[in-house]
Structures are given as structure tokens and as C-alpha cells.
């Protein structure tokens, strides 16, 4: 157990360090950043705000991590968010109960994921292209459901999901924490995680060794659809309406970025959901930090781009081989040292 904790610590160290550095930098520019207040049984403060605003990207990042681990990518999550938000608003205004609305909405998300999964696993289409279809058409479908308008609703149950609180934390935070923990436990306490990694490294080899790659691939995209549905419900509940044009717009890129910042390679294989969630928090901290510290928000995108490039350089095969090359004399020395023992 101690060794697993140690591996986790080593794996998550860069992300935690980056997050701490960013938070400290923001707190220098904006004193009182770490202040937390308890009001009406709910915590308030900038840190809570980061957790809360980061909820959609964090949720999307959970599904995206698993999809990217299978060497895929899901471009449609933003559009699926818009569809699910529209479905939720349409159901609740049509008079269905809250439970029924959530059921239908989540079912829609699962269906969208199933569509992507079938295209990738059965028709064997490149993931970028397969999910592009739903990305292009999805926003149109969402507009079809809302008939081009912003569908507003007043159901207190649905609104609670966006702005209510549970145990002092805002509801969206509770949802992504619980969901992230559940998915992480499911893939890590069973062989599923390892099978997904095997599939991502070499699909053919894992198929030949008896892994049912088709089912696993479809399941990954279905999970991503589920995450998008939850994120869509939160986004719609937050503004008390479904905006087919802007809900989840470009969030697929933020989610992919969160996964990449989390250190999961786009080439598939090893993944860490915790690291991706930290990546989502890093992105949100940058967004919130830029706003709080009084920088013009125009610089937001440039700073994001600079961070991606930095991470790309660190992760690139060339840089890694250079790193191995530089650290080789030491490794060789310790090896000879062991031999003389």
C-alpha cells in the first residue's frame, strides 16, 4: 500500500507542483485569495469558485482521459453537452418530473457516446473524424430541440444541481468529485484500467490476447457521453436555461488540454484520472487567476497557448530522449556501483 501511495505521489507531483505554483502566484497578485467563508451552510471563496467553475471541464476530462487512453479522442463532448442541456430543459418544461428528466438526459448522453463508439469500434473510423460528425451535427440537433431560442426553466430541483450545496460544497463540485472517484475506483480496483491501457498501446495485440477490444472501446466512448451529459445538465442548471449555441462551446478543447496537462499521452496507453482532474483545476485556476489579478482577460488564451507549448516540449519524445541522455552517466555509475557490491 505504501509503495502504491509512493507511485501516486511521484506520478502526480508535476501537476500538484504546477497547481501550487499557480495558486501562489495568484495569491501574490490578489491577497485574500485563500480566504474561505461559511455562509448559510455553504463555503464561499475563490478556491471554492475554482472547484465550482471547473466542474464541466473536470467532468469532461474524466471521460476524455479514458478515451485518450484507448488512443482515441472525443471531439463531440461540447456538442453533446449542448444536446443534453437542451433535452433537460425541454423535458422539464414539458412537465416531466426531475427524476424522469435526468434519466432521459443521461440516456441521451449515453446514446451519443454509443454512436461515437460504434463508429470507432465497429466501422473502424479514425476517432477524430468519427466524433467530428457529431461535433458538427450536434449543435444543430441541440438548436432543433430548443428551436433556436434559449429554453429557460424554473424547476427548483434542476436548478439545485447547478447552484445548490451539499455538505458545504456547491453541488457541481460534489458531483465531479464523487463521479471522478467512482470512475477511478472502477478502473483501478479492477483489471479494466490495465485492459484499456493495453488496448491503447496496441489494439491488435490486446485483441489477440483475448481482450474484447470492441466492447471496451464502445464503453470508453459511452463513458465520455455520460460525462458530457452530466456536464451539460450542470451547465444548463447553472444558467437556468439551455443555450444551444454556447453551452459547452470549445470545452472539448479544454478537456483535451486538461488531459494533456495531466500527463496522459495523446498516443494512448498509461493514463491517470486524478492527474487529468488536477489538469482541469490548473486550467480553471489560470482562468480565475487572470480575472482576479486584474490582467486583461485577452491574455488568457495566449497564456494557455504558452502553457501547452511548454508541456508539449517537456513531453516530446526528443526532449525525453535528451533527458535520458543527460541523466545517463549517473544511472550508469549507480549500476556499476551495484555490480561492485
Amino acid at each position: 500500500m505504501n509503495t502504491t501511495l509512493k507511485t501516486y505521489a511521484v506520478r502526480l507531483f508535476p501537476q500538484v507542483a504546477a497547481l501550487v505554483v499557480i495558486l501562489l502566484m495568484v495569491s501574490i497578485a490578489f491577497p485574500g485569495f485563500f480566504r474561505l467563508e461559511m455562509q448559510n451552510g455553504r463555503l464561499y471563496g475563490s478556491l471554492i469558485d475554482i472547484l465550482n467553475r471547473g466542474a464541466p471541464v473536470a467532468l469532461l476530462a474524466i471521460g476524455m482521459t479514458v478515451v485518450i487512453a484507448t488512443k482515441g479522442i472525443d471531439l463531440s463532448v461540447g456538442a453533446v453537452m449542448a444536446i443534453c442541456g437542451a433535452v433537460a430543459a425541454a423535458c422539464i418544461t414539458a412537465g416531466y418530473g426531475l427524476a424522469m428528466t435526468l434519466l432521459i438526459t443521461i440516456g441521451t448522453g449515453l446514446l451519443c457516446g454509443l454512436w461515437n463508439g460504434l463508429l470507432v469500434a465497429v466501422l473502424d473510423i479514425q476517432p477524430i473524424i468519427a466524433t467530428l460528425v457529431l461535433m458538427v451535427a450536434g449543435r444543430g440537433i441541440a438548436q432543433l430541440i430548443t428551436e433556436g431560442a434559449i429554453l429557460t426553466f424554473n424547476d427548483s430541483g434542476l436548478i439545485f444541481i447547478g447552484s445548490g450545496s451539499f455538505l458545504g460544497l456547491p453541488m457541481p463540485v460534489v458531483i465531479w468529485l464523487v463521479f471522478g472517484l467512482a470512475v477511478a475506483l472502477i478502473v483501478r480496483r479492477t483489471a479494466l484500467g490495465m485492459l484499456i491501457e493495453a488496448l491503447g498501446v496496441n489494439r491488435r495485440a490486446s485483441m489477440l490476447s483475448g481482450v474484447s477490444t470492441g466492447v471496451l472501446l464502445i464503453a470508453a466512448y459511452v463513458l465520455s457521453g455520460l460525462c458530457a451529459a452530466l456536464a451539460g445538465i450542470i451547465a444548463a442548471a447553472d444558467i437556468r436555461g439551455a443555450d444551444a449555441n454556447n453551452a459547452g462551446l470549445w470545452l472539448e478543447l479544454d478537456a483535451i488540454l486538461a488531459v494533456v496537462v495531466g500527463g496522459t499521452s495523446l498516443l494512448g496507453g498509461r493514463f491517470s484520472i486524478a492527474a487529468s482532474l488536477l489538469g482541469a483545476l490548473i486550467i480553471q485556476s489560470i482562468n480565475t487567476g487572470i480575472l482576479l489579478s486584474g490582467f486583461p482577460p485577452e491574455f488568457n488564451l495566449i497564456i494557455k497557448a504558452a502553457i501547452i507549448v511548454l508541456i508539449l516540449v517537456i513531453q516530446s519524445p526528443r526532449a525525453q530522449s535528451a533527458f535520458v541522455f543527460l541523466s545517463r552517466p549517473q544511472a550508469a555509475a549507480s549500476k556499476t556501483g551495484e555490480e561492485t557490491k
Binding site: I73, L123, D124, I125, Q126, I128, I129, A130, L132, V133, L134, M135, V136, A137, G138, R139, G140, I141, Q143, L144, E147, G148, A244, L253, I256, L257, V260, L266, L267, P296, P297, E298, F299, N300, L301, I302, I303, K304, A305, A306, I308, V309, L312, V313, Q315, S316, P317, R318, A319
Partner: protein, 322 residues
């Protein structure tokens, strides 16, 4: 028939059938005015899509073009508003910046061995961010030279006009076809799309070709930005969001294989025209909502991906039997 030409033939057939259906319903659509407007309205998208075709032929993808178009527009507007330089000089400057930007992305893709998807995503953020930094407002362009350029057109029989930007798009497509099929650079692109390892064995300079492909895409996105600023007479940092998706869709509908190595620049032109036709039809109809454009384009995308998949399966089977 060579199966290589099948997707292109299918695209052209779909365009002709769709146009015939449109004419059957609205006879007014058969006029040179409609065709002239089709070219003018889609000029910026078409020019950018030529660059995207080359990128996709080489097996890559360029997500930055929408942001680069917006950046070029804002850059031109700011230059013309706050300095006294002639628009032509501003055009040259903008093209130099976007070409260098594309070349830089190509260099990063090649030298850091990173997936084009994520590199051009960073490029998209950077270009959009630079546009925001230049100005967050929509800046009108009131230079008299713009008015002169906009008044240039070639009158077709029947009252239609091929405007300067519509004509420019056709020229860019002609140049693209020449580059793809009549130059060594074009052959190198096709080779690269067929597989990096085989291309290297064939003696294709991988690094130089990759950098040149993305530089060309950057140049065409810059040119597209100039055309867009002529079209709208303004520069706005939030303009042309998502144009890269329209361009990718046009390339795929045009019959280019997304895995690279197979396809035609001319197909992309037809892909653009099909998208434009759907929009024109919706305008003519008046009761259909604009979101049907997106759904129809999504369906067309899906149909063409299936067609390509079937073709690959068929050729594989034939090869195995031979």
C-alpha cells in the same frame, strides 16, 4: 473506372443532383447571380480549405485556420486605422506573419514529434489570443482602396458577378491543383500522406515538406483573412469561429481521405459549393432554420466517411484476390 476517382465522382454527382433538385423547386436558382454569390460568399472558406486539403493530404490536421483568419482581419483593421500604410503593404505584412506562424507550427510538429492536432490547437489559442490583444472590438475598415477592390468584378451573362474575391478563390484552387499534381512538392505531400517511413525511404525531405505544408496553410489562412476583411469591411477577433471545422468538412465531402495520401484539391471546391448550396437553399426556402445546415453537413460527412470506408475495403479485397 479507377476507384481513386470514385469519391470525387460521387461528390460531383451529389452536387449536380442537389442543384437539379433545388432548381426543380425554385427555378430562380438557375441563374448566374446565384452562382456568382455562391462563389463570393464562400471565397474565404474556399481559400482556407485549399490549405486544409494539403494538410490533410499529408496526414495532418490544422485547427488554427479560423483563428488565423480572425487574427489577420484584426491586424489589417488595426494597421489601417492607426497607421498610414497602404493596404497592399498591410496585406504583405499580414501574409508574412501568418506564413511564418504556419512554418513555426510545422517546425514544432516535425522537430518535437508531436501530433499536429495538439500543436495546431495551441496555435489556435495563440492566434485567437493575439487577435484579442490587438483589439476586442469590431473595427471598421474605411480605407478608400477597400471600396475600389470591392467594386472590381467581372459581369457574367445574366447579371451575375464574379467579384474579385470570388475570382481569387478560383485562382487559388487552380494554383492548388497545379501544386498538387505538377510539382515535386505536391508529389512529396502525397508520399508523406501515404506513410512517413515509406516517404523517407523514397527520399522525401520529411522535415522541409512538413514545414512547407503548414507554412502554405498559414499563408492561405492569411489570404483568406484578407478576403474575409474585404468581404465584411471590418476586423473582429470573435469572427470566423469554427471555420476550421467547415473547412475539414468540405475537404472530406470533397473526397479526400482523412488518413492522408489520397484526394483532390478540385474535390474540395465541390465540397465548398455543396455547403454553400445547402445554405442558399435554406435562404430560398425561408421557412427552414439555419441549424439544418449543420445537421445536413454532419450527415453528408457521415455518408462520405462510409463511402470511403467501403472503397478501402473493396480495394483491399481486390488486391488480396489479385
Amino acid at each position: 473506372m479507377n476507384p481513386r476517382y470514385l469519391p470525387l465522382t460521387a461528390t460531383i454527382a451529389i452536387f449536380l443532383i442537389a442543384y437539379a433538385v433545388c432548381i426543380a423547386q425554385y427555378p430562380n436558382m438557375l441563374s448566374t447571380r446565384v452562382i456568382g454569390n455562391l462563389l463570393t460568399d464562400n471565397a474565404f472558406l474556399g481559400i482556407a480549405a485549399v490549405g486544409m486539403t494539403f494538410v490533410i493530404l499529408s496526414g495532418g490536421i490544422d485547427l488554427s485556420i479560423g483563428a488565423v483568419i480572425a487574427f489577420t482581419g484584426v491586424l489589417l483593421a488595426v494597421l489601417l486605422q492607426s497607421t498610414a500604410i497602404h493596404p497592399l503593404a498591410a496585406f504583405v505584412l499580414a501574409l508574412a506573419v501568418t506564413t511564418a506562424f504556419g512554418a513555426l507550427m510545422g517546425a514544432i510538429i516535425h522537430h518535437l514529434e508531436m501530433p499536429p492536432f495538439i500543436v495546431t490547437l495551441a496555435g489556435m489559442f495563440l492566434a485567437r489570443g493575439m487577435a484579442f490583444v490587438l483589439s476586442i472590438d469590431s473595427i471598421p475598415i474605411k480605407h478608400p482602396f477597400y471600396a475600389t477592390l470591392k467594386s472590381v468584378y467581372y459581369k457574367l451573362p445574366g447579371g451575375g458577378r464574379i467579384t474579385l474575391i470570388g475570382g481569387l478563390m478560383l485562382l487559388v484552387f487552380a494554383a492548388g491543383i497545379l501544386i498538387a499534381h505538377r510539382t515535386r512538392f505536391g508529389a512529396n505531400i502525397y508520399a508523406l500522406g501515404g506513410g512517413t517511413a515509406t516517404a523517407r525511404l523514397m527520399g522525401v525531405p520529411i522535415g522541409r515538406t512538413t514545414v512547407m505544408i503548414y507554412a502554405l496553410s498559414g499563408f492561405l489562412a492569411g489570404l483568406s483573412g484578407i478576403v474575409f476583411s474585404l468581404y465584411t469591411s471590418a476586423g473582429y477577433s470573435l469572427a470566423t469561429v469554427g471555420v476550421e471545422l467547415d473547412a475539414i468538412a468540405a475537404v472530406v465531402i470533397g473526397g479526400t481521405l482523412l488518413t492522408g495520401g489520397s484526394g483532390f484539391v478540385a474535390g474540395t471546391l465541390v465540397g465548398i459549393l455543396i455547403q454553400g448550396l445547402i445554405q442558399t437553399y435554406i435562404t430560398f426556402d425561408g421557412s427552414l432554420s439555419s441549424w439544418w445546415t449543420k445537421i445536413l453537413i454532419g450527415l453528408l460527412l457521415f455518408a462520405f466517411i462510409l463511402l470511403q470506408k467501403g472503397l478501402i475495403l473493396a480495394t483491399d479485397r481486390r488486391r488480396r484476390h489479385a
